[in-house]
């Protein structure tokens, strides 16, 4: 058995890692919808989901069950191949793009096979990501075209035009980071930001602030989120390219959208905000207790909130959840080895969730662009600024070399 594992480790370990990552990502996607609804509700002075489970925490589960059991009608005269292919392409590409992202610094050896906290370590990982982004237009375009509905077709056309336009700015805004790092590998880009060891100050965001702004705007447009969600402008186009989709196929588009939000947040974290590196200088060793400092009070607060919750189920579940959180926090103080091991992932996830929060915050705050504004902003402002950023960065790097 052990011999078999050693021999096929190169095949088994990636498959296990893919299964774990897909499980985690789908769960995070589901709870992202809950966080989004809660945050937007509080921005608009409402309660948000509150009925299923304590604080509506089981709402994603209920939504999932509903998606699976809904009827899935096939509209008349659709192009069947493209109609079925579109959601699969969209979801597959969205999940594939996560495979090249390194989530943490560690390398470990399992059954004689060296591996890290990522599915694949490719030395052109950034290019792979852009290649996948380039292909993801097809899912949207095909869904719009195959549905045999004018709303879907208009939504699909708008969406593909938007994605093609902003892809240029997205790619060019990253070139500055590539010039600084001198490598396409995401791991190298993160490691280089930590070489100087003075934390926050050596991240790419400071030399590349223009690049980051261009990147973030273009990335929001690529993921079709507010204020760039013209493809699904509901007051004009019903729901855009996925108007004619129902049940699980509709859910697949949604999962893909939330997954690409996660990918973009990971990418912004890696390229500009030092990935898994701590924002504090390496000499501040006391900052490694931050996960515990956050977890213990939050756990205690959940217990406190749970014992006076309005129904019996909440009074039973919430204190247990809070106790588990507080216990994990204490455990991290008691076992410094574990605490050291989770530092990288803690900072990575903290940054990624900050970006996801910004996404949701923008959805609750900003109005939608008009179509001509969108196009002229992309081509006449974002693209020239990203090109200027590339030229500026190159000149500064050359000037420093001499």
């Amino acid at each position: 058995m052990n011999e078999f594992l050693t021999h096929y480790a190169f095949l088994i370990i990636p498959i296990v890692k893919i299964a774990i990552l897909v499980f985690i990502v789908l769960t995070v996607d589901a709870y992202l919808t809950w966080i989004e609804r809660k945050v937007i509700a509080h921005i608009q002075a409402r309660w948000g989901p509150h009925r299923v489970g304590p604080h509506g925490l089981l709402q994603p589960l209920a939504d999932g069950v509903k998606f699976i059991f809904k009827e899935d009608p096939l509209p008349a005269n659709v192009d069947k191949v493209a109609y079925f292919l579109a959601p699969f392409i969209t979801l597959m590409l969205a999940l594939t793009s996560l495979s090249v992202i390194p989530f943490g610094p560690q390398h470990f050896t399992v059954f004689g096979y060296e591996t890290g906290i990522s599915i694949a370590e490719v030395n052109i990982s950034l290019l792979v990501l852009f290649a996948i982004t380039a292909l993801s237009v097809y899912g949207v375009a095909l869904a719009g075209w195959a549905s045999n509905s004018k709303y879907s077709l208009l939504g699909g056309l708008r969406s593909s035009a938007q994605m093609v336009s902003y892809e240029l700015a997205l790619t060019l805004s990253v070139v500055g980071v590539l010039l600084i790092a001198g490598d396409f590998s995401l791991r190298t880009i993160v490691v280089q930001q930590g070489v100087k060891g003075n934390g926050l100050l050596s991240w790419n965001i400071f030399p590349q602030i223009i690049g980051f702004i261009c990147f973030f705007i273009a990335a929001i447009a690529e993921t079709n989120r507010v204020p760039f969600d013209l493809p699904e402008a509901e007051s004009e186009l019903v729901a855009g390219f996925h108007t004619e989709y129902a049940s699980m196929k509709f859910a697949m588009f949604f999962i893909a959208e939330y997954t690409s939000m996660i990918t973009v947040s990971c990418l912004a974290t890696i390229l500009f905000f030092g990935g898994w590196l701590s924002p504090f200088p390496a000499s501040w060793t006391f900052t490694q207790y931050l996960p515990s400092v956050l977890l213990i009070p939050f756990g205690l607060w959940v217990i406190f909130d749970g014992i006076r919750y309005e129904n019996m189920f909440g009074r039973m579940v919430l204190p247990v959840v809070g106790a588990v959180m507080a216990a994990i926090g204490f455990g991290l103080i008691v076992f410094p080895v574990v605490n050291d091991a989770i530092q990288g992932i803690f900072w990575f996830l903290a940054k990624v969730f900050t970006f996801l929060f910004v996404y949701i915050w923008m959805r609750g705050t900003l109005p939608r662009f008009r179509y001509d504004q969108l196009m002229s902003f992309g081509w006449k402002f974002l693209l020239p600024v990203s090109i200027a950023n590339v030229v500026l960065t190159s000149v500064v790097i050359l000037w420093r070399m001499h």
Binding site: V81, A82, L127, V128, A131, T133, G156, S160, F184
Partner: protein
């Protein structure tokens, strides 16, 4: 069979299937989708040879940019299924034997040649850094001239489009 060989045959089969499907399909969108399949399979073959940069660029430029334009135009024009006329039947009767003959000729040339073809790209071309050094130092003038040519073509297209208004 070794793993790379298996992957090669799978990718080659996908590429050939896509190419045949491109011709056989009646609807332009289905043909365009088949062409994308060919592009992606070719990118996989490049990756297998160790030319990672070329593989990524193949997908970004051909699979992404160019084919999106194709699909976009087909969708905008709302092109329907192609019609079969007498002329297209004639083309089929003449074309199939010609295609078989062409394939036979190429196969014969490959079988008959004595020189062993290297399956991998030369080591100097594999990494992105080496490729860019070659492109921007040794062959910088041909490279710049090519991009100038493309710029001229773009300008020409814009002039042609403007003249109609």
């Amino acid at each position: 069979m070794t793993a790379p060989l298996v992957i090669f045959f799978v990718l080659a089969a996908v590429a050939v299937f896509g190419a045949i499907s491109l011709i056989v399909q009646k609807h332009p969108i289905h043909s365009a989708l088949s062409l994308i399949l060919v592009m992606v399979a070719l990118a996989g073959l490049y990756l297998l040879m160790g030319a990672e940069f070329v593989a990524a660029v193949q997908i970004i430029v051909y699979g992404g940019a160019i084919m999106v334009l194709f699909i976009f135009v087909i969708m905008l024009l709302n092109a329907g299924e192609e019609e079969r006329t007498n002329l297209s039947k004639l083309a089929m009767y003449a074309g199939v034997p010609l295609a078989v003959a062409m394939t036979g000729l190429i196969a014969a040339a490959i079988v008959g040649s004595n020189t062993a073809m290297p399956a991998r790209a030369p080591e100097t071309l594999t990494s992105t850094r080496q490729l860019s050094t070659l492109l921007f130092q040794e062959f910088v003038y041909p490279f710049e001239l090519t991009s100038f040519l493309i710029l001229v073509a773009i300008l020409g297209a814009i002039v042609l489009a403007q003249r109609e208004n």
